[in-house]
Amino acid sequence: MMGFTEDQIHRYARHLVLREIGGVGQRKLLDARVLIVGAGGLGCPAALYLAAAGAGRISIADHDAVAVENLQRQILYGSADVGRPKAETAAAALRRNNPDVIVEPLAVRVTAAGARALVKGRSLVVEGTDDPETKFAVNDACVAEGVPFVIGGVVRWSGQLMAVLPGKTACYRCVFENPPVTPAETCEAAGVLGPAAGAVGTLMAVEACKILLGKGEPLAGRMRVIDFLAGTSRDIAWKRRPGCPACGAAK
C-alpha cells in the first residue's frame, strides 16, 4: 500500500482511515520537511504531535538549555534533563516517540541574518519562541522563501495563533508592524498556565497538518485569540496590508 512498511500501516492506522488523510495524505506527511523554531511551551507539544503524526523530517531549533522552571509546561523534558541542550534533548524525545521520523536538532538562535537559509526548502515552519525578533525574522524569511508557517504565542491565560500562506494571506507584519520597542510581556515575568501553552502548541500542530495535507480551511488571514480564563475565543481577520515591508512586494 503506497510503499508503506508493515509498521507504518499499523502506526498510522487511525490516519489511514481518515477520509482527509488516507494513504495519499500520510505520504504527504511522511515526505514533509518541517522546521520548528523554539523547543519551549509551544514547540514541545507541536513537535511531539507532528513527530507522532509521521511528519517525516523535523528540524528543531533552540539555543537554550533546559531549566527547572521550564518543566511545568515544556513536556518533552523531565527533571533529569535540566541543564541539557533543548534541541538535542527534544530531538531524542521525538525519536523515542517515533523512530520513523528523521529529527535534526539545531542549537541555534534564529535571527534575521540566519533565518532565510534555515527556512529555505521547508514544507512548513512552526514558530513558537518568546522572542519578538525571532518571530519577525521567521515571518520575513518564510514570506521571502514562500514557505507557509504557523505562528503562536501564549502568556498567562491568553493565547493566539495564526497561519500564513505567503503571497496569499496576511503575514505577521501586516498586523504587528515591528517588534515592540519595549519587550513584549514574557512568561518569565507574567507567568503562564502550562496546559494553555499545551493547547496553543497543539492547535498549531493541527494547523500544520492541515496545511501539509492541503485539507480544510487553514487558520490563515485570521488570528485566533483565546482567553482560557474566560473560556472564550475569537477570530480576528487580517487583510494583507498594502505596503507591508515583508509581504507587500511578494508576488
Binding site: 502568556v155 491568553s158 515592540p180 513584549a184 512568561c187 480576528i236
Partner: protein, 83 residues
Amino acid sequence: MKVRVLFFASVADAAGTRSLDAELGNRATVADLRRKLEKDRPRLAGRLGKCAAAVNTVVVSPARALADGDEVAFLPPVSGGAE
C-alpha cells in the same frame, strides 16, 4: 457615538476589564479612541499603540473612522512559548 471596546491578554489586565463602552465625538478615528482610553486609564498609557486594532473583527489602520455601534478590539502581540 458609542463603540464597544474589547481588550485582550496584557492590555485587558492593564485596563482592568475585558470590555467597556466608550463615548466618542462624530468622525472619531481608532487613534482618537486610543488616546481617549489611554487618558481615561493611565495604566494603558503607551500600550495601545503596540496593539493591532480590529474593528468588527477586521484589523484596521489607526486612521480608520469609527461608526456608532462599532466593536473595537485591541490585541497585543503575545510571544511566549520558549525562553
